[in-house]
């Protein structure tokens, strides 16, 4: 999301397309290494950009390993902990997890890890689909400021931020370009 006062705030480009691509390739290798191959591994992307990243990871893993990896998409809004305190409910997108999660090693994929609340919601929702063997977490950016005891297993880039900064992840499929940038002082 482009900041409305981008001209006033300092925007730093943190990672370009090539950088994102390198980070995802590394994550794909780490996932395979950690799980000793692709067997029983499934990816679940958190809508919207986490799902895009999960699709890219799926392609990378299948290319490296030459084996099929299951992919699911998830809208976590129904599991948010602020669902009854907001004025207008967000539009619910489709959750598509068409495989059996039981005994799978599930890698949750999201773009930015921040407070950890989204991932908590994703974990809870995933468990309502069944009992995976493990749930792992892959994120493109970890910007710190956790409010829950959650950490990522695979991190593309650690970016130190203030709470007032805004991290913008752009992905080609959703936004027309690949980039990670920071607007200092643009967040709440």
């Amino acid at each position: 999301m482009p900041g409305k006062s981008a001209s006033r705030n300092k925007t730093e480009l943190f990672l370009d397309g090539a950088g994102i691509s390198r980070a995802l390739t590394r994550i794909a290798h780490e996932i395979l290494e950690h799980n000793r191959g692709a067997e029983n591994v499934a990816l679940v992307g958190v809508l919207t950009r986490g799902a895009t990243l999960a699709k890219r990871l799926q392609a990378l893993i299948e290319k490296i390993e030459g084996a099929k990896v299951e992919l699911g998409l998830m809208d976590i809004n129904l599991y948010r902990d602020d669902a009854t305190t907001r004025l207008d409910q967000p539009v619910i997108q489709r959750t598509d997890i068409l495989f059996d999660v039981v005994d799978k090693n599930i890698v949750l994929v999201d773009d930015v890890l921040y407070s950890g609340r989204t991932i908590r919601a994703a974990i809870e929702q995933l468990i309502d689909f069944g009992r995976p063997r493990s749930i792992q977490l892959a994120v493109l950016v970890d910007r710190g400021h956790r409010e829950l005891p959650i950490r990522a297993d695979y991190v593309g880039k650690n970016i130190p931020t203030n709470r007032t900064d805004r991290v913008n992840v752009h992905l080609d499929e959703d936004d027309g370009d690949d980039s990670i940038s920071i607007e200092r002082g643009a967040g709440k």
């Binding site: 809004n77 599991y79 009854t84 207008d88 409910q89 539009v91 619910i92 689909f129």
Partner: protein
């Protein structure tokens, strides 16, 4: 984003955007019903009162399940008679219950306008589960959802409602909702059971079922109440079935694909034969399942919308 109103009182006047938002959201909830755990924590901490002043089994159960599947707490208040006769006014009854901290009220009542009345007494979001012969908006929505599921869109479809249109809240919600989403709506029934100036609803009006069926995509058969015959609206059940009952002989002439709907409960052999009700064209049970998804979507979308009662001076 979000619906224009914090209540769902009827489908008359609800915009195509809002109807579409509810129906789109329902798709996600419909999917939840296929999960092993058919429950999400979304409305944890929200308390819903199901206020049923009229006997109802399926609508009440459907709402109750929808609430439970959203992790809301629900309580049921059923009264077969109006509280007026028990000496306590409806306002007192609901204000007392709301004082126990209620967030949403699902109401069914024999008097048209009661859901509106509640918006004047309460802070809660009000959902109309049927008020007299006025509206039954969640039934209208689930019917639209079911048609969209099968045809993708209502635009340009010919939908026929058959039966006691005059006393049917389902018919009214159907007419408003279907028309807003672009369907061509026709109604057919005995002239004694058609509403006054029915064509002003913007529908085609028939009293001959065979003519009405021509070119139809969806037929929604309404339940015929026995008491209508007793009050002289038609001479006999036998004659009703003869003139307005849906049978395979009638449908054979159609020469095209069609969908049969019924809001239930069905009088088998009266307004529809068992053969048709159970045929492949019938989506009656799918309607019931979809009803839960639509009600979950409505509860979800309205739950975020808090507000003060719209008390008018007097």
């Amino acid at each position: 984003m979000g619906l224009a109103s914090r209540h769902l009182l009827g489908l008359e006047g609800v915009s195509a955007e809002d109807l579409t938002q509810i129906l789109d959201t329902s798709i996600s909830f419909r999917e939840i019903l296929e999960r092993p755990i058919k429950k999400v924590p979304t409305l944890r901490g929200v308390t819903v009162l199901n206020l049923f002043y009229e006997a109802s089994t399926r609508t009440r159960i459907s709402f109750e399940l929808a609430e439970k599947r959203l992790s809301a707490d629900s309580i049921n208040f059923s009264a077969s008679t109006s509280s007026v006769k028990k000496g306590e006014s409806l306002r007192d009854t609901v204000q007392n219950i709301e004082a126990m901290k209620i967030d949403m009220v699902v109401v069914r009542h024999k008097s048209a306008g009661t859901p509106y009345f509640l918006t004047q007494c309460l802070n809660s979001n009000i959902i109309n589960a049927g008020d007299g012969a006025h509206e039954h908006p969640t039934q209208g929505l689930l019917d639209m959802f079911t048609i969209r599921q099968k045809y993708g869109s209502l635009k340009g479809l010919r939908v026929l409602l058959v039966g006691d249109i005059k006393h049917s809240r389902v018919a009214r919600s159907n007419i408003w909702g279907f028309k807003t989403l672009g369907a061509n709506v026709a109604i057919c029934g005995p002239s004694t059971l058609l509403p006054y100036e029915a064509e002003r609803f913007g529908v085609d009006v028939y009293t001959n079922l065979d003519e009405a069926l021509e070119g139809v995509d969806v037929v929604n058969i309404l339940r015929i109440q026995l008491e209508r015959q007793q009050s002289g609206m038609f001479p006999s059940q036998r004659e009703y079935t003869h003139l307005f009952g849906l049978s395979s002989e009638r449908l054979k002439r159609l020469n095209k694909n069609y969908t049969i709907m019924h809001p239930g409960p069905i009088n088998r052999g009266v307004e529809i034969t068992s053969e048709i009700a159970d045929s492949e064209s019938s989506v009656v049970l799918e309607q019931v399942t979809n009803g839960q998804a639509v009600r979950m979507a409505v509860l979800y979308l309205l739950s975020g919308k808090k507000g003060e009662p719209e008390e008018t001076e007097s």
